[in-house]
């Protein structure tokens, strides 16, 4: 209901409205806090491992292998090789490496894999979708641009995604870049389709006609006038896609095609830990629960964004 005081109040900007809707949602607050914590961990990892060298995820201490969390290093370990905190906060793995240090290092790598893969996927999807939607009627010989791009999207959709990723990653030399690129190159089709639909419906509206009448080139119309109006669903998809990219990376690690050493990711810590489920359950549960929390946070944040950006979905 609109009360008189609402009418007197200055109209709230759309950004304010979205921010208020986000803040009002408990799940969104929780996921924002979780993600902030993970970012902080990644940052702390960079500082503690890279800059100060306080923690070392790569030091192998065989006498101290498979120690439970919070245990102290044994006396045989040289002082220089002891963990910076004095204890193994999250225990050690089968090579006596500090799991806490590896988890911190892994949080940065895991997030990077997720973000870069999604950045690639979203960029391709937005480019293909907006070109197909706005310049679709341009002819290339017997075909239209729209026809060519969308049939290509159909072709890509025909490949079973995980099978395709697995094939590509297995055939290419193992490297963290290949994994990010392959996950990105196989994940853009959905974005391309709905950006195209969005652009098609926006392109018929008067403000686009006005922009074209001013003589703006197509790239400027797309970038300045069309895409900002299609940004909301793209943002939601991107958020949820980061979550699935992290899951795909951990699945690849399980099959032995994940990010290769020396990089630690939560996925390959988890997959290494599965061999010690009984002897060292913390090696398995800690990265597993960490992945669960982060993926959950990204999904809930995506859901919260969807509801906040779409007034029709907002709870009354």
């Amino acid at each position: 209901m609109t009360t008189p005081s609402d009418l007197d109040a200055p109209p709230r900007s759309r950004a304010r409205e979205v921010a208020d809707a986000l803040r009002g949602d408990r799940a969104t607050r929780w996921s924002a806090a979780t993600l902030a914590l993970v970012l902080l961990a990644a940052l702390a990892g960079e500082i503690l491992i890279g800059a100060t060298g306080l923690l070392d995820p790569a030091t192998v201490r065989l006498p101290d292998k498979l120690l439970p969390p919070l245990s102290a290093p044994s006396a045989t370990i040289a002082v220089a090789e002891r963990p910076g905190l004095g204890i193994y906060l999250l225990g050690t793995d089968d090579l006596g490496r500090d799991v806490f240090a590896r988890m911190l290092e892994g949080s940065a790598v895991t997030l990077t894999v997720g973000f870069v893969a999604v950045a690639i996927a979203i960029s391709i999807g937005v480019a293909v979708g907006s070109i197909a939607g706005y310049l679709g009627q341009v002819r290339l010989g017997p075909f239209t641009v729209d026809g060519v791009l969308m049939r290509f999207t159909d072709v890509m959709l025909c490949f079973p995604t995980f099978f395709l990723i697995l094939t590509a990653v297995a055939l290419l030399p193992p490297s963290i870049y290949n994994i990010m690129v392959v996950i990105g190159l196989t994940g853009w089709m959905g974005t391309a389709r709905f950006v195209r639909a969005e652009v098609l419906s926006l392109a018929r509206q008067d403000f686009v006609l006005a922009a074209r009448a001013l003589g703006l080139p197509p790239t400027r119309v797309i970038v300045r006038h069309l895409l900002p109006n299609a940004a909301a669903p793209v943002l939601v998809t991107a958020t949820v896609s980061v979550a699935s990219a992290i899951l795909v990376e951990s699945s690849l690690s399980f099959l032995g095609f994940g990010v290769p050493p020396p990089h630690a990711t939560w996925g390959n810590i988890l997959s290494d830990g599965k061999d010690y489920v009984f002897d060292a359950p913390w090696l398995f549960t800690i990265p597993g629960l960490a992945i669960l929390a982060v993926v959950l946070a990204f999904n809930l944040l995506g859901e919260g964004l969807r509801e906040a950006l779409d007034p029709r979905l907002r709870r009354r």
Binding site: P160, F162, F163, L172, S250, S251, F254, G288, V295
Partner: protein
Amino acid sequence: MLGYLLRSLIERLVLLVVVSVLAHAMVHLAPGEPSEVDPMNPRMKPEDVARLRAAFHLDEPLHLQYAYWVRDLATGELRSFKDNQPVLPRIGERFMNSLPLFVLATLVIWTLSFPLGVQAALRRGSRFDRTTTVLAYALIAIPGFFLAYLVIIAAVQVLGLPVIGMRTFGAETAPLSVRVMDRIWHLALPTLMLAFGGIAMLSRYARAQMIEVLAADYVRTAHAKGLPAETVTYRHALRNALLPFVTMFGLMLPGLVGGSVIIEQIFAWPGIGRLGYEAILGRDYPVVLTLNLFAAVLTVAGTFLSDVLYALADPRIRLR
């Protein structure tokens, strides 16, 4: 309708050809070759490698290799690089192993998701709604093999269930009832693991659909007419909410090949996903390519099926 079906059938056939050409090119242009799988073996002389390449047509230009592959596939003569066994019977056998897993998982998904989703929508904001929502999100977010390991440990230590493979080794001579129960217990866990993700997704989708329909004008009208709430919910709302799910059925078909690699790997289930994984590891191109084509056929058939079913179920849609 008939014209549409014919045209879309032709379009989809062209699509499949393009997919197979692309897949073939991608697999063959990737670095490394089946003949180089064992480069450090001192007994592999250059002439042996050349002989292997000639035997597999790997020394021919790419388009000829594609033609060989299509010819062999069409005549059923296609043989694996690894063991020289015919590919099609092997895929057929693995397919029959995966099928019960897929069918059972699909049944579990569809029978559980709808009641869960619809109840959550009807009691929006209640404790039940919140619990199922959290559970669904957690099931989507948990890495599949992590959950599978936890469930396996629980099942073995607490219930003593058999978890690996399709049947207990050495139980072939046991009485029929024992063998049947053995098969069922072996099926139970992989089915459940395959179904979890689907239940979570589908029940969320059912809930969203139901909420949207419950807010529609015709539902309000039905209430205003004084119809009992039950009638409105199940006759007016539910029917319309279920409509989009007709298409989901077709779209889940390709999961038969790609969706179960991890689960089949964990449970040592000799299914089609695991066959693909082994073929990729061994660079067994004929198997990889044929499986890929099979998956593409399932995808295309799935979207075709969902188009047709949607047109049959929704009178507002006319295929032209």
